[in-house]
């Protein structure tokens, strides 16, 4: 019982003890140490995959259920208890669908796009602090790594838009690239202010910096709002869903995709929603910290709190026009984020 409690509340110590214990046994067998490291890494990757897949199954259902509640409908309620297995059924359907490749596609960029979009999404899980010491790899460049690797998905979106050789896809891809690029700047500036306050880029360090004082959402309230807006734009959700605006662009850059390739786009989209919320929870809401419950439970509670806000925004506001979209980022969010950064720096000095 004590061990279980230690594992839940202070995961770092027992895990590293277990690791060095295993290493001692492994060395006793005369095996090279890097092989055991590789086995550990595989176990970590499998655990993260389990989190990713289960979470995606749940988050899609959650989003649909919230939309249904807001529109006074029932939402998915046929497959399984309360429709909980609906997403699983959809996944199986996508898995056994025929994969159609249109004649005119650019074969290389059409095929490589789902890969390029999915890899950054998966790789971001590397630095997410799920609990106290429970982080796949606590890189000391943590938040910079997240910024850098999520920027790569733009290439995948452009490749999908160009490779499909479809006008909707092209316009959707171009819009999406421009949008992600524009909203990345205010987001990065807000993250800069957070780094300024915590003095480290390590994700666990940012969480630790919020432990003795207040959560950063209080001193950085403006930053939190900007982060939510920019994050919502980065994941292409309403009111910023111009790249996949159904009524004008069919499905944007994934119009021509079918079967499993489409499933990976869909998976990446919803996982990005989760990741944005998880990063927001880590940077501003104190990460895994909280009373009574184990850290990992708090992490998911806070993340789902942010997800609920984003869903609420999605189903409340109408889609904005493309000129409003670009001007909102460059003329309002960027100056505000710069102001936020400067004010934070000045206040920290006094």
């Amino acid at each position: 019982m004590a061990l279980l409690k230690e594992l839940l509340y202070n995961s770092g110590k027992p895990l590293s003890e277990f690791s060095s214990w295993m290493h001692a046994i492994w060395a006793g067998w005369g095996m090279p140490g890097f092989l055991l490291d590789f086995i550990f890494q595989l176990v970590i990757v499998l655990a993260v995959t389990a989190v990713l897949v289960l979470n995606a199954l749940w988050i899609i259902y959650y989003d649909r259920k919230i939309s249904a509640l807001m529109q006074i409908r029932k939402g998915p309620n046929r497959v399984g208890p309360f429709g909980l297995l609906q997403t699983l059924a959809d996944t199986v359907k996508l898995l056994i669908k025929e994969d159609v490749n249109p004649k005119k596609i650019d074969i290389l960029s059409f095929w490589i796009a789902p890969l390029i979009i999915f890899i950054p999404t998966f790789a971001v899980f590397l630095v997410l602090p799920f609990g106290n010491g429970l982080v796949p790899a606590d890189l000391n460049i943590g938040i910079l790594y997240i910024i850098a690797i999520t920027g790569l998905s733009v290439i995948g979106i452009l490749a999908a838009g160009w490779g499909s050789n479809n006008k909707y896809s092209l316009i959707g891809g171009m819009r999406s690239a421009a949008q992600i690029v524009s909203y990345e700047i205010p987001m990065v500036l807000v993250i800069l202010a957070v780094v300024l306050m915590s003095g480290t880029m390590k994700m666990s360090g940012i969480v630790a910096a919020q432990s003795n004082r207040v959560w950063f959402v209080v001193p950085q309230f403006l930053g939190f709002i900007i982060f939510l807006i920019a994050g919502n734009a980065e994941v292409n959700r309403a009111p910023f869903d111009l790249p996949e605006a159904e009524s004008e662009l069919v499905a944007g850059f994934n119009t021509e995709y079918s079967a499993m390739k489409f499933a990976f786009f869909y998976l990446a989209e919803y996982t990005n929603l989760f990741l944005t919320s998880a990063v927001a929870a880590t940077l501003f809401l104190g990460g895994w910290q909280g009373p009574f419950l184990p850290p990992i439970v708090w992490f998911f509670i806070k993340t789902y709190f942010v997800i609920t806000i984003l869903c609420w925004i999605r189903w409340t506001f109408p889609r904005i026009r493309v000129d409003q979209l670009m001007e909102f980022s460059w003329k309002y969010l960027l100056p505000l984020a710069l102001l936020n950064l400067v004010v934070t720096a000045v206040i920290l000095k006094f």
Binding site: F34, D37, F38, Q41, I44, T49, L95, I96, K97, D99, V100, N101, P102, K103, K104, D106, L115, F118, F122, A123, F125, L126, P136, A137, L144, I147, S164, N165, N166, Y168, M174, V181, S182, V188, L192, A193, V195, L196, G199, T200, M201, T255, E256, A259, M260, A263, F264, V322, D323, M326, E327, W330, K331, L334, P335, L338, L341, V342, A345, K349
Partner: protein, 117 residues
């Protein structure tokens, strides 16, 4: 060790996508047809190519993105050590740096480059 985990993550993501598509190809029905493989354009026959020279109105935005992204890259190390440094030098220098960028933004704004039309 940490960056080894990163490589394993990358490799596993690739395996996952390729594995998913391979399983899909093993399970799927296959009924090819010329109609099916036409580009989707709301049911009409597609007109022309889509891989045309697209009017990149966003060119200026992309340029400005590069400027500000590099700015952020320069400011990150500053932000990390900011609290440990004494005196007003770090603050003043960063303010001058940011001020120059704000001037650039104001210039672009004044020129009407931030307008979409």
């Amino acid at each position: 060790m940490a960056y080894g985990t990163f490589l394993v993550f990358l490799g596993f993501a690739v395996v996952m996508v390729i594995g998913g598509v391979v399983v899909n190809y093993l399970l799927m029905p296959y009924h090819p047809g010329a109609e099916k493989r036409t580009t989707y354009e709301c049911g009409l026959d597609p007109i022309g190519e889509a891989q045309v020279r697209y009017s990149l109105r966003f060119y200026v935005f992309a340029l400005m993105y590069v400027v500000f992204a590099v700015e952020a890259a320069f400011l990150l190390p500053w932000a990390v050590v900011y609290r440990t440094m004494s005196g007003f030098m770090p603050l003043t220098e960063a303010l001058i740096f940011i001020f120059i960028l704000v001037l650039g933004l104001a210039f672009a704004w004044e020129k009407g480059e931030l307008k979409w039309d």
